[in-house]
């Protein structure tokens, strides 16, 4: 019942937390207000600042070894709203702070605005990109379940229209289906929130955690919130909306949607089960989540093998890679818990970078060849080696081959699952890696052989290097030092979980 007062009292430097949300939110408002070309300038101009805030937050968390806390409006929870940054939040903020500018720089070619006019697609893209950034910051930092609901809605409203920018019927239908799934998720999430408030009279995560007991209202709330978040994360069998929505969006938007947006709702699943519901026995729910994850890995990979278009293949591989994220849940208690958690987080980050790199590369392929049919990729790697290098390096992470962040993630998860005796998950993950190798082979083997095709236009060197840089980050994550994994544990009530 007693709550450590440090959990709701503001810490020094905490005022950075609202800034991480308000700066991109201000960018949204100003971009829409002033419009025209200035939307792009505002977005690009604010991104260094947003990244600097993320770095500062990470440094403060690192130095203090404690989560940063900020109470808004001077009202402490439960009446007011608190923001909190732990190691996991800081790492996700940094990830978003790197991928969003990369996508933005890449998108400058596609969404340039001629002087003195305003065009539809650029204005929408630059405004919503910042909206996604604001929403993700809120999702990573929010300490109040209803505040997080607002963050989820921000994320939905910013993400959905990006998929239908070209206005073709199939993209509009994809966006509509995405919206309906997301709204279903929001309603379920909100229902769970209502039940938790009814049971305990607070929605603050730190205050809620010590109150939660295994009782019907909490179990139902947990089920509803989880189901809602899974619909937004596109975990099998709620993944139907993802491939068309992600594959038909402009490449820069796909990179952000597939790399970052689905991680937002995944992040909240972790928050829910690790921070809010740590008191619940987690074996059965964890097993269910990992079971769905396993199905996602196998099903998504097999479908990826059968796709005819490169972007759809990459989108289905997202369905599969999301499955890996949920492997951490049944392994979250026991001496291997830290490994499992680190593996899950590492998977989230490395997939974000790798998938962003792959979608950007696929966008370059489609622009250069005029199509993205896999059957027509013969020799393409000879014509644009850097693009395919980025695609391949990203693929390394998906397969889980060393050296890559994906390798570290999958290795940690496998280690934890074998150590805990739950070897089934290890088998599924290994099979998923083989299948990933299969679908990447389908793309890379023909591209590396045969005559180099005539390009409509060669990809710009600068845009290729953006994709390559992202792929290299996914690679470099393999060399994360042990202190990085210690950093991820900051703010975890991990000791408590491990002892359950």
């Amino acid at each position: 019942m007693t709550v450590d007062s440090s959990a709701i009292a503001a810490t020094a430097g905490g005022s950075l937390l609202p800034l991480a949300i308000l700066v991109p939110a201000l960018g949204v408002l100003l971009s829409f207000l002033i419009g025209g070309r200035r939307a792009e300038w505002i977005a690009l101009g604010l991104m260094p600042l947003e990244f600097a805030v993320a770095v500062a937050i990470a440094c403060l968390v690192w130095r203090s070894g404690q989560p940063l806390v900020y109470t808004l409006a001077g009202y402490a929870p439960p009446l007011g709203i608190a923001l909190r940054a732990d190691g996991f939040s800081a790492v996700m903020l940094l990830t978003a702070g790197l991928i969003a500018p990369a996508a933005a720089l890449y998108a400058r070619t596609n969404f340039a605005t001629p002087p003195e006019t305003e065009k539809r697609a650029p204005l929408v893209f630059w405004t919503l990109l910042q909206g996604i950034h604001a929403a993700l910051s809120l999702v990573f930092l929010g300490g109040d379940l209803f505040n997080l609901y607002v963050g989820l809605e921000l994320l939905t409203f910013a993400a959905v229209p990006l998929g239908s920018l070209d206005g073709r019927p199939e993209t509009v239908a994809a966006a509509l289906r995405y919206l309906l799934f997301a709204l279903f998720g929001s309603v379920f999430y909100l229902l769970g929130v209502a039940l938790l408030y009814g049971a305990y009279g607070t929605l603050d995560i730190a205050l809620l955690a010590p109150l939660v007991r295994p009782e019907p209202a909490v179990w139902l709330a947990a089920g509803l919130i989880t189901a809602g978040l899974l619909a937004k994360t596109a975990l099998f069998p709620l993944h139907l909306w993802l491939p068309p929505a992600h594959a038909n969006a402009p490449a820069a938007a796909s990179a952000v949607l597939s790399g970052l947006v689905v991680k937002g709702s995944f992040f909240l699943v972790v928050r829910l089960w690790f921070d809010v519901l740590a008191a619940l026995p987690g074996v059965i729910p964890g097993t269910i989540l990992a079971g769905l994850g396993s199905a996602a890995i196998l099903f998504g990979s097999v479908l990826a093998l059968r796709q005819a278009r490169l972007k759809l293949l990459i989108a289905y591989s997202t369905v599969a890679q999301i499955g890996y994220l949920f492997m951490m849940f049944p392994l979250a208690s026991g001496p291997w818990a830290a490994d499992a958690f680190s593996g899950g987080v590492m998977q989230a980050i490395s997939h974000a970078f790798a998938k962003a790199a792959m979608f950007l590369s696929a966008g370059l392929v489609a622009e250069s060849l005029g199509h993205d049919r896999i059957a027509g990729l013969d020799g393409a790697a000879r014509a644009m080696p850097v693009t395919f290098l980025a695609l391949g390096l990203g693929g390394l992470s998906l397969m889980g081959l060393p050296p890559s962040g994906g390798f570290v993630a999958k290795w940690l998860l496998m280690k934890a699952s074998i150590a805990s005796g739950q070897w089934l998950w290890a088998i599924v993950m290994a099979a998923g890696g083989l299948l990933a190798g299969g679908y990447l082979y389908r793309v890379l083997a023909p591209a590396l052989s045969g005559e180099s095709p005539a390009l409509k236009k060669a990809p710009a060197r600068s845009r290729e290097s953006i994709a390559l840089a992202l792929a290299l980050v996914a690679l470099l994550l393999a060399f994360a030092p042990p202190s990085f994994f210690a950093f991820l544990q900051i703010g975890r009530p991990a000791a408590g979980l491990a002892l359950q």
Binding site: S164, P169, V172, L176, L179, L180, A194, P244, L312
Partner: protein
């Protein structure tokens, strides 16, 4: 407290009804209606939580009430976006259906999406 409990039961029934409509009804507009119905069921659950938190001279806890007000506005915005998408789909495909077979104009390259 009967009225609060009764409202809660209605809320539960509305969530069930709305969920059914959202999944089983193929027309997008009907799905939007079902979403709104489900949403209002959730708001009613908030409502009984508020009513059961009456105290301090208030007949209902103001915090869940404020959340419902926020939620109603967000639900409206969501409906507006969804309706705009449905109408756009109707214009672009000649039909307001998520099923590509029903579109009158032949869809382009990405038809194999689903």
């Amino acid at each position: 407290m009967t009225s609060a409990t009764l409202a809660g039961l209605v809320g539960a029934a509305l969530v069930g009804l709305g969920l059914y409509g959202l999944i089983a009804n193929p027309q997008p507009l009907r799905k939007i209606l079902a979403f709104n119905l489900m949403g209002s069921g959730v708001f009613l659950v908030f409502g009984i939580v508020a009513r059961k938190g009456a105290g301090a001279g208030l007949q209902a806890d103001p915090v869940p009430q404020a959340m419902v007000i926020t939620g109603i506005v967000v639900a409206f915005a969501a409906s507006a976006l969804a309706v705009a998408l449905v109408l756009r789909l109707f214009e672009a495909a000649g039909r307001a259906t998520l099923n590509p077979d029903g579109w009158t104009e032949p869809p382009g390259d990405g038809a194999g999406a689903e």
